[in-house]
């Protein structure tokens, strides 16, 4: 058995998924081979499907809805998890004052505003002296404009986050800014940042400060698409603080002077190699600083809610099973209605198995149509759900039906093929003479 287990483990994931799909779909052909052996039920099944086409359409539509919604919910959860994780790609390590890591991650990566104590000159000096850091950028949040967060950072961070800009150029002076791909400002637009966030932001707190948008970032699929990034010196200047450089130094950007560094709630760090990121995190995660990986925090969160995911899968399958059982009960009732017709066939010499096979094929055809349509419904619903979630969270989602959904539908199909024996058996066991004696 372990040899088989090793063989299984050695297969690529796609092969494992495909084999599992084949295994899940196998009961249907096996049952068909057993039941339809030597019989030709196609004509009768086709006639049943056509004769009651409106009811059939209703049954198939019900199954399609339940299958589709179950598949869409699972696909949507995965798309959201991956979209949220992708947003953290640009943030290898975040360094902040000791506190709530999750809160800092939400503020820095997802621009969900939070008050945070500032890291000052000593922290800056230690970080700037670390040769294993390839990109060190302060993140100064707290202002906004027209609902978009205004964040102070460096030109290098903009390049790291967006890659080549979609429009214009990156800021080169204290009064310039770069807009996110979907920020509510156009290139060339000048604005005064408001202090704070949301509808209670104080729009007149920084009167006299004017920032001009000189570029637009490429879409990142993260909440940063709605943000406006300015030089961190602009944020300090706006709040009447030192500007990070000694007097007489007339440039923006790192390295900053620890003696004139007013402070920042967080630094984002990027290192070219993974081991460097870990070395940097270990070096600075002590005492008066906290250094952590947003990716690891997200993964820990995902692991905690993993149970919720499994519960969701289970609920989706149970709902589908319930709908299938309901449909089969309806079909079993139909078998009673067909009683006279089948009794006639039996009287003409058809074997009992013929009646069972015909009802079973009829039910399976309905289920098959429902499952295929369900995949379509699922795909559409996933896109609809994603559009709703994207509007809420500013994350770019890529919903797609993957192997988990295919396995779910295949398992449902096979289970229902088994359940489809019920209406068949209901027809199988009917008494021919009493059915024939019934008036139409």
């Amino acid at each position: 058995m372990t040899a088989l287990g090793d063989l299984w483990a050695a297969l690529p994931a796609a092969a494992q998924d495909a084999l599992l799909l084949a295994a899940l779909l196998s009961p249907a052909p096996v049952l068909a081979a057993l039941l339809l052996r030597g019989l030709s039920v196609g004509g009768l099944t086709g006639a049943l499907l056509w004769r009651f086409r409106r009811t059939n359409l209703l049954f198939a539509a019900l199954m399609a809805l339940s299958v589709g919604l179950g598949a869409a919910v699972i696909a949507q959860e995965r798309a959201l998890r991956q979209g949220a994780a992708r947003a953290a790609d640009a943030f290898d390590v975040i360094v902040a004052a000791p506190g709530d890591r999750l809160r800092l991650m939400l503020a820095a990566v997802y621009l969900d505003p939070a008050d945070a104590p500032l890291l000052r000159g000593e922290a800056l000096a230690r970080l700037q002296a670390d040769s294993q850091i390839d990109l060190l950028a302060p993140l100064a949040f707290g202002d906004s404009h027209a609902g978009a967060p205004v964040v102070g950072s460096t030109a290098a961070f903009v390049a790291h986050l967006s890659g080549p800009l979609a429009e214009g150029r990156v800021f080169a002076a204290e009064d310039e800014a770069v807009a996110g791909a979907r920020a509510p400002v156009a290139v060339g637009y000048s604005f005064t940042p408001a202090h704070g966030h949301g509808p209670l932001a104080e729009t007149d707190a920084h009167d006299g400060v004017s920032l001009r948008v000189v570029g637009r970032m490429a879409p990142t699929g993260t909440p940063w698409d709605k943000a406006i990034v300015t030089p961190v010196e602009a944020v300090w200047n706006t709040h009447g603080l030192a500007n990070g450089h000694a007097p007489g130094v007339d440039r923006i950007g790192p390295p900053f002077d620890p003696d004139y560094f007013p402070g920042t709630p967080a630094f984002v760090i990027h290192a070219q190699e993974l081991w460097r990121a870990y070395a940097v995190q270990a070096r600075h995660d002590r005492g008066d600083m906290m250094a952590f990986f947003p990716g690891a925090e997200l993964a820990r969160l995902n692991a905690l809610v993993g149970d919720v995911r499994q519960a969701m899968s289970l609920m989706a399958t149970l709902t589908q099973a319930l709908v299938a059982a309901g449909v089969m009960a309806g079909l079993a009732a139909l078998a009673r209605l067909f009683g006279r017709r089948f009794a006639l066939l039996r009287a003409l010499g058809a074997p009992r198995r013929f009646v069972l096979a015909a009802m079973w094929s009829y039910a399976v055809a309905l289920v098959g149509a429902g499952c295929l349509a369900g995949l379509g419904v699922g795909w559409l619903s996933a896109r609809l759900l994603s559009a709703l979630v994207e509007a809420r969270t500013d994350l770019a989602l890529a919903p797609a039906l993957g192997w988990p959904e295919l396995h779910l539908v295949a398992g449902f199909f096979s289970l229902t093929c088994l359940l489809a024996l019920l209406p068949g058996l209901a027809a199988y066991r009917r008494d021919v003479p009493s059915d024939l004696r019934e008036t139409a």
Binding site: I74, G83, W275, Y278, A282, G295, A303, L314, G411
Partner: protein, 195 residues
């Protein structure tokens, strides 16, 4: 015949719902683990004595003569062919120590790996080396750094002991990892100190 098919189908049907729901993560899904396990009575922690790279009386602490100390090495019970070993390391040497790899008599290969979440996919990627500053403390833990053993000779049962050797540029450090529950998130003694 149909009963057997039904039973097989129900089992096959339940498996994907559980297996695929975790999004293909490397580790089994973690749940709220009971980490407050009872500490064995009469435990003697005589740490602080660098006993060379042989085991101390107490497997929780291991120290190498060049100054590297390993505290609370642990791993999770598994029936799979690979395992992640976690440990708290402290560089007590006067100079930097670089971790370069690992080995274990219970596995065919071992390497140091680091967790990364890229493009929404979680995985542990191997790293060639990791420098530790003098006096630095680093914790190998789930969703961070780990020592990955592959080709385990036999499944790990909870309560068992797994010998591991950590290789560095200054020498080797042997320690014995304790096998915790399959869904453990920390060593059962996490949070208490050895002095």
């Amino acid at each position: 015949m149909r009963h057997a098919a039904a039973l097989a189908l129900l089992i096959a049907f339940a498996a994907p719902a559980a297996a695929r729901a975790d999004g293909g993560q490397v580790q089994p899904a973690l749940t709220e683990a009971d980490v407050g396990k009872a500490h064995e009575a009469g435990h003697d922690h005589n740490a602080g004595e660098p006993d060379g790279d042989d085991h101390a009386d107490d497997d929780h602490v291991a120290a190498a003569p060049f100054g590297l100390v390993a505290l609370h090495p642990w791993t999770r019970a598994t029936a799979a062919r690979e395992a992640l070993v976690f440990v708290e390391l402290e560089n007590g040497a006067a100079g930097p120590v670089t971790l370069t790899g690992a080995r274990s008599p219970a596995a065919t290969s071992a390497e140091i790996v680091a967790f990364r979440l890229v493009d929404g996919v979680a995985a542990y990627a191997p790293i060639a080396s990791l420098p530790l500053d003098p006096g630095a403390e680093i914790t190998l833990a789930p969703f961070g750094l780990a020592i990955r053993l592959e080709g385990l000779s036999e499944p790990l049962a909870r309560g068992a002991r797994l010998p591991v050797t950590l290789l560095t540029d200054a020498g080797a450090l042997d320690f014995v990892a304790e096998v915790e529950a399959a869904d453990a998130r920390a060593h059962s003694h996490a949070g208490h100190s050895h002095d």
